[in-house]
């Protein structure tokens, strides 16, 4: 016994100093060039760029890929402790948080003037998101896309639905023909940020955006929303929606759709590339159709201006190199590679024609081309509204939480809950405006009113001038 303990203690004495020695020599991360990313598709492209740089400069490089959730956690901690990577992608879905990050000095501008950017990038730049005070902070690497594409398995579904009712009938048929083995639809209910975006896009497609731009009021309890809820709750009650949806995030929902547990999945275009890479190399059983909430009518889905692909942090000490790497991401050959892996469509959409992509991918790109417009952006109209967004607190339950509440049995009267949410949102924005005004900023409800907005048209930068 004594001998054993002595042995343990001796080995500890040997190992301990070595641990400490290792720690202190490897310790400082200052001389490592770090790159944090949540775009899995670009792993190889970015890594080869970093390796090249490392070979030239002799500097150590480090690439970290994580899921958007983990990465946003890490970025928040890193910012608070001055440990930000040199270059990072932004995993935050809400544009208003990007505005706050600018105001708080998260980033450094790229070492490039606006005039020197290639034309495709110039067209996609937007003050407050990729530019700030006229300086270039990032360039978009993707072109506009939305996440309300309806993917399905042609082996189960013969004809694409064009309305909620047709979707319901189609799901019912799938469910009954498989004797309840296959569900109609699978939803990523715990990925609330994504579902919130998708629901808002579905409302756009139905012709009733969640903000009424003629009055600036919220419109979360529109008829279109009620219709969406009616069909979703009905499908749930009849067992047509995958019962695990309540606990699924996007990855899990996609996984279950891809292995054939459900016929439909509502997702972004990258579903094509991911399905090909992980589940179905031949892409033999995938097809896409337009958002069914449009009822087969012409429609438009409104998006914020494109966020940049990569930003340079305030902690970066080699802005030139970082700028070169970021700008090389929008060169044609890399754009083409991007299209080949069937991720989000590249900002230079002309390369897609030369890419080796599946029919579904081309159809999706076509849908985006035809139906995406720019959303009126209050921060672009009045930069101080960023303070209002930062002041507004999260109201719950939100529509997606209400739907999840119904699915899980916590809420039965979803109609009342939606009305309540809308009222609370209006009240909370009023309170936030009041608070921000009392701090000396000039904001009002008028900042959310865009009288020259017309449904079906994109709200481009020149429209702000007309105001």
């Amino acid at each position: 016994m004594l001998k054993k303990i002595a042995l343990i203690l001796i080995s500890l004495c040997v190992i301990l100093p070595s641990a400490f020695a290792n720690g202190s020599t490897e310790g400082s991360s200052d001389d490592v060039f770090t790159w944090w990313d949540h775009y899995e598709t670009f792993t190889d492209i970015v890594n080869s760029m970093l390796d090249e740089y490392s070979a030239e400069s002799g500097r150590e490089v480090e690439y970290t890929l994580s899921s958007p959730d983990k990465m946003s956690d890490s970025l928040l901690v890193a910012f608070r402790t001055d440990q930000m990577p040199d270059v990072m992608s932004l995993p935050f879905s809400d544009m208003t948080s990007v505005c706050t990050m600018f105001a708080e000095g998260w980033f450094q501008p790229l070492a490039v003037e606006f005039e020197d950017l290639p034309q495709v990038a110039k067209d996609a730049m937007f003050e407050g998101i990729t530019m700030y005070d006229g300086e270039v902070y990032s360039v978009p690497i993707f072109s506009q896309s939305h996440t309300a594409l309806f993917f399905y398995h042609p082996s189960m579904v013969s004809e694409a639905p064009t309305s909620w009712e047709e979707l319901y009938n189609s799901c019912k048929q799938v469910y009954e023909e498989s004797n309840g083995e296959t569900y109609g639809l699978v939803l990523p209910m715990t990925f609330t940020k994504r579902m919130k975006e998708t629901i808002e896009q579905l409302m756009d497609a139905a012709g009733e955006p969640v903000i009424d731009y003629s009055t600036g009021e919220y419109n979360y309890d529109s008829d279109a929303m009620m219709e969406f809820f009616y069909w979703m709750t009905r499908m749930w009650d009849e067992g047509l929606i995958h019962p695990s949806s309540v606990n699924f995030n996007m990855k899990q929902a996609r996984e279950r759709w891809a292995v054939g547990e459900a016929a439909y999945l509502i997702d972004g275009i990258y579903n094509v590339g991911i399905t090909k890479k992980n589940f179905d190399p031949e892409l033999s059983d995938i097809a896409v159709c337009e958002p069914v909430s449009a009822n087969g009518q012409p429609y438009m889905i409104y998006k914020w201006p494109m966020v940049g692909g990569y930003y340079i942090s305030k902690n970066c000490d080699n802005v030139e190199v970082a700028t070169d790497m970021i700008l090389s991401m929008i060169e044609d050959d890399i754009m083409l590679e991007m299209a080949n892996v069937q991720d989000n469509p590249p900002v230079n959409t002309s390369v897609i024609a030369d890419a080796d992509v599946h029919e579904t991918y081309l159809q999706s790109c076509d849908i985006f081309n035809r139906t995406i417009g720019l959303k009126p952006f209050p921060v672009a109209k009045n930069p101080d509204t960023e303070k209002v967004y930062a002041e507004m607190k999260t109201i719950s339950p939100s529509p997606i939480e209400i739907l999840n509440g119904y699915f899980s049995g916590a809420i039965t009267d979803w109609e009342a809950a939606l009305h309540e949410y809308n009222d609370k949102m209006i009240a909370e924005r009023d309170r936030a405006i009041e608070k921000v005004r009392s701090n000396g900023y000039n904001v009002s409800l008028d900042d959310w009113v865009f009288p020259n907005f017309a449904y079906g048209e994109s709200y481009t930068a020149d429209k702000y001038q007309e105001l």
Binding site: T100, N247, S408
Partner: protein, 298 residues
């Protein structure tokens, strides 16, 4: 002995021996706790580098925040269900595995201990598959027995999610309580049982007459340790349900995490206020526990 050590020449040694513990304790518990309390008085958006003083605004808002109040409720509901079950199940296993006639005791003990040493995040991932409503083994068995409807999601229903995750938590930590029980039972001398046997007592009688009274002080400690554990449940719930569905598994720890990191606007000050309330509550529990222990000891 005490007097000999406390002599002046040894005082320096006393200080030196206490120093490592005191420094580490101060750096990693006391100072962070104080900082958290300071942050709780700030209006601090997570994207900002510093907060603004706002008095007790965060605390006022907390007590009007339905989700925070729900999370308090959920935390206690979890505790009230999970603690007694874990306590009793582990006691049962402890009694079985301490009986001298039981075969392969240490083999069983090791197997039951296995979940304790597994990372919580992995357990969450595995359990989502095990409890999958469409083809997970638990649903296959329960549907076969006619206990639940087809496609009932145990982790996805408002009424069952908390209890299901509590059962998974009990499964994970039961092995730890089991060790406590076995350790306690081993402290009861065998002669007492033999005496009882000679007196013709049955197994149950000797349990009530000998084991139960002697175990009482141990039971109190095991109970308190289990309560402490149950209040700190975090990583399992994070991967299993992430607080859902509809906040039915949102414990205080998850509430703090969500507020500080994953909300649309992360709020550091507000999360710190919740953490401060939580920490204060823990201190009270700890002080009550030690008072309890003192009384039990006397």
């Amino acid at each position: 002995m005490k007097s000999s050590v406390s002599k002046n020449r040894n005082l320096a040694w006393v200080v030196i021996f206490l120093l490592p513990n005191t420094i580490l304790y101060f750096m990693y518990t006391i100072l962070p706790a104080i900082l958290t309390a300071v942050y709780s008085l700030l209006d601090w958006n997570g994207f900002q580098s510093a907060g603004e003083f706002c008095g007790i605004q965060n605390y006022v808002e907390l007590f009007n925040d339905d989700i925070f109040l729900t999370s308090l409720k959920v935390t206690f509901k979890f505790m009230l269900f999970a603690v007694p079950v874990r306590f009793l199940v582990s006691m049962l296993f402890g009694l079985l595995l301490n009986s001298r006639k039981c075969l392969f005791k240490s083999f069983f003990r090791t197997l039951l201990f296995l979940p304790v040493v597994t990372t919580g995040a992995i357990i969450g991932t595995i359990m989502i598959m095990i409890f999958d409503p469409s083809h997970g083994p638990v649903n296959i068995v329960l549907e076969g027995l006619g206990l639940i409807d087809k496609g009932k999601s145990l982790l996805g229903s408002y009424d069952t999610a908390l209890y299901t995750s509590a059962i998974i938590w009990i499964w994970k930590w039961m092995g730890m309580s089991l060790i406590y029980w076995i350790a306690s039972l081993q402290s009861i001398p065998d002669e007492l049982y033999e005496a009882a046997k000679i007196d013709g007592a049955s197994g149950f009688q000797s349990f009530m007459a000998i084991t139960a009274p002697l175990l009482k002080p141990f039971a109190v400690i095991i109970l308190l340790l289990t309560i402490g554990d149950s209040l700190r449940v975090f990583d399992i719930l994070l991967t299993l349900t992430n607080g859902g569905p509809f906040y039915s598994t949102e414990t205080i720890e998850l509430f703090i995490y969500h507020t500080a990191f994953t909300d649309r606007i992360p709020r550091l000050g507000y999360a710190s206020a919740a953490a401060t309330i939580f920490a204060l509550f823990f201190c009270v529990v700890a002080i009550v526990q030690s008072a309890f222990k003192k009384r039990g000891g006397e």
